[in-house]
């Protein structure tokens, strides 16, 4: 099971990539026990345990995700997360108490300041998550800047909306590239080589599908054919669900690190089936089947990925940069933007 090779494969020939399936080993029944104990302790401690519960939940999904014989580690502690949550609650309470005393203008100013802090909060969340995630004992890092986050999550999506969606694939591509390329594993940065064109074809395909469905509904309406209209509505619903697996595939195929890459092949139909059946079962059991549904989704995510190992992971060193404890890092966790990195 050794997977190190200090001699890199020659650059001239096509690097031979060894496909290794990504595996998720969690079980619904097992996770149910962990989940219910988490909830019970959270209730009995009036919510304080929720910070530790979050760590256990996250560790369960990390620890059961196996890539090339090694699992992921989540290293944040409940104490850190509690600290962030307490700060967030304090800010929220202060904010809502102030709202009844101060003038609307000043309140608006505060809202503006909060909006301006959003990119920073998103970055803090990503940084926190990356920093406390490790694989083979080496941690991840996130180094995005305020201005780039502004563009990725606010300005470009806004541009996409203003141009009635024409620029939307660009915006999606930019956001994905921002997240991926600002992540590093040890001392090596991730690269992203998905193209705008790939995002365009996903969006275009869905738009065509939706237009066709609307046409179907219109025809059904004019001929008073309920089944035809129903098919049209279901098609629109299915298409909106198809978005996630299609983007998942484009995204993961684009992620690479020192020639290591992923093959992503999430079947659209399978995803839609899992999503709809999960939703129905969770609703029917009033939430009790939630752990089972989560595990099922994690299986689907993992089974859709294959790691293409270039054989050089062992040469990646942990980052030597001594990271300073950024102020408010824990606060970012509260906002919890998991952009789907590290599965």
């Amino acid at each position: 099971m050794t997977s190190q090779s200090l001699t890199d494969t020659p650059v001239t020939s096509r690097p031979s990539l060894k496909p290794i399936p990504v595996a998720f080993n969690g079980r619904g029944g097992e996770y149910f026990g962990i989940w219910i104990v988490n909830i019970a302790l959270t209730v009995l401690t009036l919510g304080i345990y929720s910070a530790w519960a979050k760590v256990r939940n996250k560790r369960y999904f990390y620890g059961n995700t196996d890539v090339a014989g090694a699992s992921f580690e989540y290293l944040a502690t409940g104490g850190q997360i509690l600290k962030g949550r307490l700060i967030a609650v304090a800010v929220f309470v202060a904010f809502s108490m102030m709202s009844s005393f101060i003038s609307p203008e000043v309140y608006g100013l505060f809202m503006l300041a909060f909006m301006a802090a959003m990119p920073w909060l998103i970055n803090a969340g990503l940084r926190f998550n990356a920093r406390y995630s490790a694989y083979r004992g080496v941690r991840f890092r996130f180094t995005g800047t305020y201005w780039a986050a502004c563009k990725a999550f606010f300005l470009y999506p806004l541009l996409g909306m203003i141009t009635l969606g024409i620029m939307m694939p660009h915006a999606m591509h930019y956001a994905a590239r921002y997240v991926v390329t600002n992540h590093a594993y040890g001392n090596k940065a991730f690269k992203f080589d998905a193209t705008v064109r790939q995002y365009q074809s996903v969006v275009l395909g869905l738009v065509i599908g939706i237009i066709a469905s609307i046409a179907l509904i219109a025809i059904g309406f004019s001929q008073v054919s309920i089944p035809l209209m129903l098919v049209g509505y279901l098609a629109i619903y299915g298409l909106s669900l198809a978005f996630k697996p299609l983007l998942f595939n484009v995204y993961w195929k684009g992620v690479n690190l020192e020639r290591n890459r992923f093959e992503a092949n999430m079947p659209v139909g399978r995803f839609i089936w899992v999503f709809i059946s999960n939703s129905i079962v969770v609703a029917l059991t009033l939430g009790l089947a939630f752990p089972w549904a989560q595990v099922r989704l994690a299986h689907l995510n993992a089974n859709s990925l294959t790691f293409l190992h270039a054989g050089n992971l062992g040469s990646i060193a942990a980052s030597q940069a001594k990271e300073m404890s950024a102020v408010g890092e824990e606060l970012g966790e509260v906002y919890d933007v998991d952009v789907g990195f590290g599965i």
Partner: protein, 352 residues
């Protein structure tokens, strides 16, 4: 795999299999780790011998069957799936990681899980049925009037944009209705900021509602449908909503419900992945039905004080139901769960 003979302390060298990740590199090698009786870990990797005392190792908590991570200071990390062995070693050497062994045990004990499941379901139900409404009742008086005003204006503005059009009632008719209203309820409205508005609405039809700031809205369609006694009866019901501050209480309880579930499940991301909004909507409708019943009770008292016949409320409800085209026998038990109001027949019976 290997296991300590429980209780025996003499000569118990044991091994377990693990992946070793040397400090500072994402390198990996499968190793057989030896734990000897004196409490030292030793193994061979990358053509080197590694040794570390077990009590200096940090061991991650057990979590189902997921692997354990052993951090050897300055040397690196071991990842092993031999959970039972690690637990036994922790116990045997009185390692500080032993303290957390009760938690994973709890997570795997079916009886405990069942017991805690019952605890969760019972406390969850009690919180939802009694805790949150009681909390809303206590905290609502603390909300400043400015918030009621804002919420009321917001709600009215929103309805004006979509569903309400200016009233077609003549000024005299409006005047007359307001005077009747004041004559009967005027002295019971002290401290409440009640005002009566009329709007025409095709969307709502014959209807009346109370806003958080004490504004009562009656539709033209309603005024034309009912007689004076019936108008006053429904007005009494709407005053009941204002008296009990239902607008603010509704806002508080629905946000408390969302906050509580977010806190408990602690996973906002997963919530958005799987549709769990249906149970929410149902829960909020049940709060709404409770408040309707409370407003009905308040209406009875108000009508009694004003010397009105409470049967007028029953006939008003009947007329409104007929005007909305609801079948007389349409109030089956299961329909109640999908409705913001209790079954109309049940309400009518209370007032007859």
């Amino acid at each position: 795999m290997a296991a300590f003979n429980t209780g025996q302390t003499t000569d118990m060298t044991q091994t377990f299999s693990a992946h070793f990740y040397p400090e500072g590199f994402a390198d990996s090698q499968t190793v057989m780790v030896l734990l000897d009786a004196s409490g030292w870990l030793s193994f061979q990797a990358f053509d080197k011998k590694y040794r570390c005392p077990f009590n200096r190792v940090t061991v991650s908590d057990r979590l189902g069957r997921s692997p354990r991570f052993l951090t050897l200071p300055e040397l690196g990390r071991l990842e092993t799936r031999d959970n039972d062995f690690v637990d036994m070693a922790l116990r045997h050497f009185g390692h500080q990681g032993e303290r957390t062994l009760w938690l994973p045990k709890l997570e795997r004990a079916p009886l405990w899980i069942l017991g805690l499941l019952i605890v969760v379901v019972v406390t969850g139900w009690a919180t939802y049925r009694h805790g949150i409404p009681a909390m809303a009742r206590v905290t609502a008086p603390l909300v400043p009037d400015k918030v009621r005003e804002l919420a009321g204006n917001e709600a009215l503005g929103w309805m004006e944009r979509g569903w309400l059009t200016p009233t077609q009632l003549s000024d005299e008719r409006q005047q007359e209705l307001r005077q009747t209203f004041d004559r009967h309820f005027g002295d019971q409205l002290t401290g409440l900021n009640v005002r009566v508005l009329f709007y025409s609405s095709d969307a709502f039809g014959a209807n009346a509602f109370a806003l958080p700031d004490g504004t009562l809205v009656f539709t033209d369609q309603f005024v034309e449908l009912v007689n004076e006694a019936e108008f006053l009866a429904v007005a009494a019901h709407e005053i009941g909503h204002v008296q009990h501050d239902h607008g603010i209480r509704g806002i508080i309880s629905s946000s408390a419900l969302v906050a509580a579930t977010l806190l408990i499940t602690g996973d906002s991301e997963a919530l958005s992945e799987i549709i769990v909004t249906a149970p929410y909507a149902l829960a909020q409708l049940s709060y709404s039905r409770d408040m309707e019943r409370e407003a009905d009770t308040a209406a009875m008292e108000l009508m009694l004080a004003a010397g009105l016949d409470r049967k007028a409320f029953a006939s008003a409800l009947q007329k409104m139901m007929d005007s909305h085209g609801a079948g007389g026998d349409g109030s089956r038990a299961w329909e109640e769960y999908l409705s913001s109001h209790p079954a109309t027949d049940e309400r009518i019976q209370r007032f007859e």
